[in-house]
């Protein structure tokens, strides 16, 4: 089982950037957790837990603009890079490491600890 546990932390291929609409998001299910993977207009990808720090709104359903997503429930604006609420609002959503290899997207299912504080 050791091998598998380690694998969980490894990078996973989740699909191609072409599967996500530009300035949109798709979800990845990992057991109980839903991770929203965002694609910006300039083709960068980010992954956040699909839960707004305000009242758990599904961020994957929001409008993506520049490096942010606006939550569909009460319009908090969350930074895609850090998962932190911007402006006057306070709170942070867990973010996950993602990287692009060509057009393939690799996601790491372990949240970014250093940013989660």
């Amino acid at each position: 089982m050791n091998a598998l546990t380690r694998d969980t932390n490894a990078w996973r291929l989740i699909g191609s950037i072409d599967d996500i609409p530009s300035q949109g998001a798709r979800c990845v299910k990992n057991g109980e957790t839903t991770i929203a993977v965002f694609r910006t207009a300039d083709d960068r990808v980010f992954a956040l837990e699909d839960k707004c720090p305000h009242k758990n709104g599904p961020l994957s359903q929001g409008i993506v603009h520049d490096g942010c997503v606006t939550c569909p429930l009460h319009n908090w604006v969350i930074s895609l890079e850090t998962g932190a609420a911007t402006g006057a609002d306070e709170g942070r959503t867990a973010s996950f490491p993602v990287r692009l290899d060509g057009r393939d997207i690799y996601l790491n299912l372990e949240p970014n600890l250093e940013m989660g504080a």
Partner: protein, 825 residues
């Protein structure tokens, strides 16, 4: 003393201004009679171009409405051309025989457009560009589409070309000279202008000589000297004007190029004055309003008493009123051995400026692109100041002169002297505006316009007037409508206007051209822009799903827990056992937790999982149910009562009419949600009087009300009027919806829009003016062609599949190799 009789021939801009001065100086001196060949009141001819392009309506450009003539006891003969002046008897006679005796006469017949007498110039479809009838003719041609050929690449021709282009025609400009507007621009600026017009899709042919206009019964094309044939359904000739002097000549007055006057604007007959484009003073005739307004003032002073006032010549700057094109030229810029040129080009910004000097004095300037300094050069030109000290920095503009004025426009205006001219058309200087603001306590642009006339003619100086106001009033002057959001300082109204005027057809184009401050907008502006583009370019603009709020993207309403609610349409609130059975089955099959009846007379299925949506819709579709757009900024419901079908008080078939309205209006996108109601009698069981549009059935027909609200804000409706037939109700509801679609700001409900534009305006355009109602109606019908499709069935058949499926699924106990990865779609 009994009043003298003043008769005026022509009701254009010059005599209109003359009367204003006269009534101010000597309100009771004259009984005034005006003859006008045009069948209308005095309007701002300069602003015909914005009417043509759709940025303004005719009502917006009226200078003196009916009430003004009544208030001053003026007799206005509309559509009555004067055919003779009997100077012996002091009587003028109109075409239909109306006569008027005068003590003093003013001839203000303006000019006639010149029509080149090539073969075919009399064909229907050949127009000049001079008055409202010409604009109406062009708009009718634009409705039919096709290509317009504009002959003449001067100010008027180019404004016509830009207007026709924004009305959707293909446009070719033919210009005889090698560069455009050669009388106002030098070749370099003319070239930049041509490039700009071409980038907007207007074809420009310079050096093109028209040989003939082709066509049997109407215009079909234009043939050039070189044999080229261009198809055309409209030809606009804008090749020049001629002072209208025939009447004066026949009356025996001295006539040169125009009706000759002295510096007091008196003709060779001391009781007859002449002002406007028809007048020639000191050997010159004029074609821009600034000098004409000066003539008007001088003549008014002489008419109101003994005066020293004399007309003086001044250079008038030229500007082109095509939104988004900035050019400014003033004075003399021909080459000459004793002249010096200073030129600055910035190709990247498409800007160009040239200042012409003679004996170290500015005698002319041409600016294209960045024109803010035009006024400053004009001031130097007028003062005749020696500029040798600032010779090196002159071309960079006022901001770069010693005084350390920053590149801040407000600072530049602050630096202007009190007699710097701010409004060229009306000759209003800075000091006069400041004085009016201080003395009369003016606080709004409208008031400043009313009191000083600054920016009240062509409007290009509005920004400067606002700057003067900001300087004078300090913080108390809230400059403009607030920007749409942090990404732009432009308000919704300006953005809407510019989208149309500049033909912007995509969100990136809007952000680029209107200089958005963020790279991709935000969640406030993107949905608004998406709506504006969708509404302005039906069939052309492709909806941007990513700029829509989630509810509109997935056609269901997001709930607090991230599930959705689904509301099928129930036309007019009617349903059937089949529909109810299908709904019950869906609820069971997908374990939907709650079923609720809504305020709009339909059934809401609450708590549907996003992934289940397509399957839920498929089942509902199968029973004939379609999306109710309960999520949309669009038509929600038409609430009805049972009306004459069942109710003992019912006067009409309110349910049937409600269903018809709903079937007609559904699917269209609007600035905010739209709710209707039809109630069978004034007992109002369907609550029509708090809806966006309501219909109250009465014995004699249908009373239409609108602008109600029953949300955060509560407001009863306002009555529009009563009509006799269901067809009229439907046409009016559609026309009003379209007017709102075209003018409303995003998220602005109908009541707010009507509060803003005025209930009278809406009534005039939708109820009273049948032609305008019809035009709105037809535009609505056109746009419905592209929006009436059931979004549910589209998604059931696979549209936007990605929305409803996860990209990948990992179970905690799944090995990576077995992780389900969805293939690319």
């Amino acid at each position: 003393m009994s009043k003298q009789r003043l008769v005026i021939i022509g009701n254009g801009m010059a005599p209109g201004r003359l009367l204003e001065h006269l009534f101010e100086a000597a309100p009771d001196a004259y009984d005034v009679t005006i003859f006008n060949a045009e069948p209308r009141v005095n309007y701002d001819r300069i602003m015909l171009s914005p009417v043509l392009s759709g940025e303004k309506t005719f009502e917006d450009i009226i200078i003196h409405g009916d009430a003004w003539y009544e208030g001053h006891g003026i007799t206005l003969h509309r559509g009555e051309k004067v055919t003779g002046i009997d100077r012996e008897a002091r009587i003028v006679t109109g075409a239909s025989g109306i006569t008027a005796a005068y003590d003093k006469l003013v001839i203000a017949t303006g000019s006639s457009p010149f029509i080149i007498p090539v073969p075919g110039h009399k064909l229907p479809g050949v127009l000049a560009y001079r008055d409202l009838d010409d604009v109406d003719g062009m708009l009718r041609a634009a409705d039919r589409g096709g290509r317009a050929v504009v002959i003449g690449g001067g100010l008027l021709g180019l404004e016509a070309a830009a207007g026709l282009k924004s009305r959707g025609m293909d446009v070719t400009v033919l210009h005889l000279m090698p560069t455009l507007m050669e009388r106002q621009l030098d070749p370099a600026a003319g070239y930049l202008l041509q490039k700009e017009l071409e980038s907007r899709g207007i074809e420009v042919r310079c050096g093109a000589n028209t040989k003939a206009i082709l066509g049997e019964r109407e215009v079909e094309g234009v043939e050039l000297e070189d044999g080229t044939i261009i198809d055309a359904s409209l030809v606009v000739m804008a090749v020049g004007i001629r002072p209208a002097v025939d009447l004066a000549r026949e009356a025996g007055l001295e006539v040169g190029r125009g009706i000759q006057t002295d510096f007091a604007m008196r003709t060779s007959d001391p009781d007859i004055f002449s002002v406007g484009e028809c007048a020639e003073v000191d050997g010159r005739v004029y074609g821009l309003v600034a000098p004409l307004y000066q003539m008007a003032k001088v003549a008014a002073e002489h008419l109101s008493g003994v005066s020293e006032a004399a007309f003086t010549h001044a250079e008038t700057p030229t500007k082109l009123k095509v939104t988004g094109i900035n050019l400014y030229s003033v004075g003399d810029f021909g080459d000459g051995p004793d002249r010096e040129d200073v030129v600055l080009r910035d190709a990247a910004r498409g800007s160009y400026r040239r200042v012409i000097l003679q004996d170290n004095r500015v005698i002319g300037a041409v600016l294209y692109g960045d024109v803010a300094d035009g006024m400053w050069y004009n001031e130097l030109l007028k003062s005749g100041e020696d500029v040798s000290k600032m010779r090196d920095t002159l071309i960079f503009g006022q901001a770069h002169q010693g005084g350390g004025v920053a590149a801040d426009p407000l600072a530049a205006v602050a630096n202007l002297s009190d007699d710097a001219e701010i409004c060229g058309c009306n000759g209003i200087c800075k000091g006069k505006i400041v004085q009016a603001i201080n003395e009369k306590g003016l606080t709004s642009l409208g008031e400043v316009r009313a009191h000083t006339k600054a920016s009240a003619s062509c409007g290009t100086c509005t920004g400067l007037v606002e700057a003067v106001m900001a300087l004078t009033l300090g913080d108390t002057f809230a400059k403009k409508a607030e920007g749409m959001c942090g990404c732009t300082d432009l308000g919704h109204g300006e953005v809407r206007r510019l989208i149309k005027a500049q033909g912007l057809k995509s969100i990136p184009a809007v952000m680029q051209e209107l200089e958005w401050k963020s790279s991709h907008g935000c969640a406030k502006c993107r949905p608004a822009l998406n709506y504006y583009l969708l509404s302005d370019w039906p069939g052309e603009y492709k909806d941007d799903q990513q700029s829509r709020f989630i509810n509109e993207r997935v056609h269901a309403n997001i709930q607090k827990d991230g599930t959705y609610s689904v509301v099928p349409r129930m036309w007019g609130g009617m349903t059937s056992s089949d529909e109810l059975r299908a709904i019950a089955d869906v609820v069971d099959k997908f374990a939907i937790p709650d079923v609720k009846v809504t305020g709009g007379q339909r059934i809401d299925l609450l708590g549907v999982k996003k992934a289940d949506l397509p399957a839920v819709w498929a089942d509902l579709n199968a029973a004939g149910l379609v999306s109710g757009h309960a999520y949309a900024k669009g038509l929600r419901t038409v609430k009805t009562c049972v009306g004459s079908t069942w109710c003992r008080f019912g006067t009409q078939d309110s349910t049937g009419l409600g269903i018809k309205l709903e079937k007609f209006l559904w699917g269209s996108w609007t600035p905010a949600k739209v709710k209707l109601a039809v109630t069978g009698c004034p007992r109002n069981c369907a609550e029509a009087t708090c809806k966006d549009i309501g219909v109250i059935c009465v014995e004699s027909g249908y009373e239409i009300v609108y602008g109600g609200a029953a949300g955060l804000h509560i407001q009863g409706t306002t009555k529009l009027g009563t009509v006799a037939t269901e067809e009229e109700v439907i046409e009016i509801a559609a026309a009003m919806t379209q007017m709102y679609r075209e003018q409303g700001f995003y998220l602005e409900r109908i009541y707010k829009w009507a509060d803003r534009v005025g209930y009278d305006t809406v009534k005039a355009a939708i109820l009273d003016d049948l032609e305008s109602r019809r035009a709105y109606y037809e535009r609505f019908v056109l746009s419905q062609k592209f929006s009436q499709s059931d979004p549910w069935s589209e998604r059931v058949s696979g549209v936007d599949k990605h929305e409803f499926k996860p990209l990948a699924v990992f179970g905690e106990d799944l090995a990576p190799a077995t992780a389900k990865v969805e293939p690319a779609e």
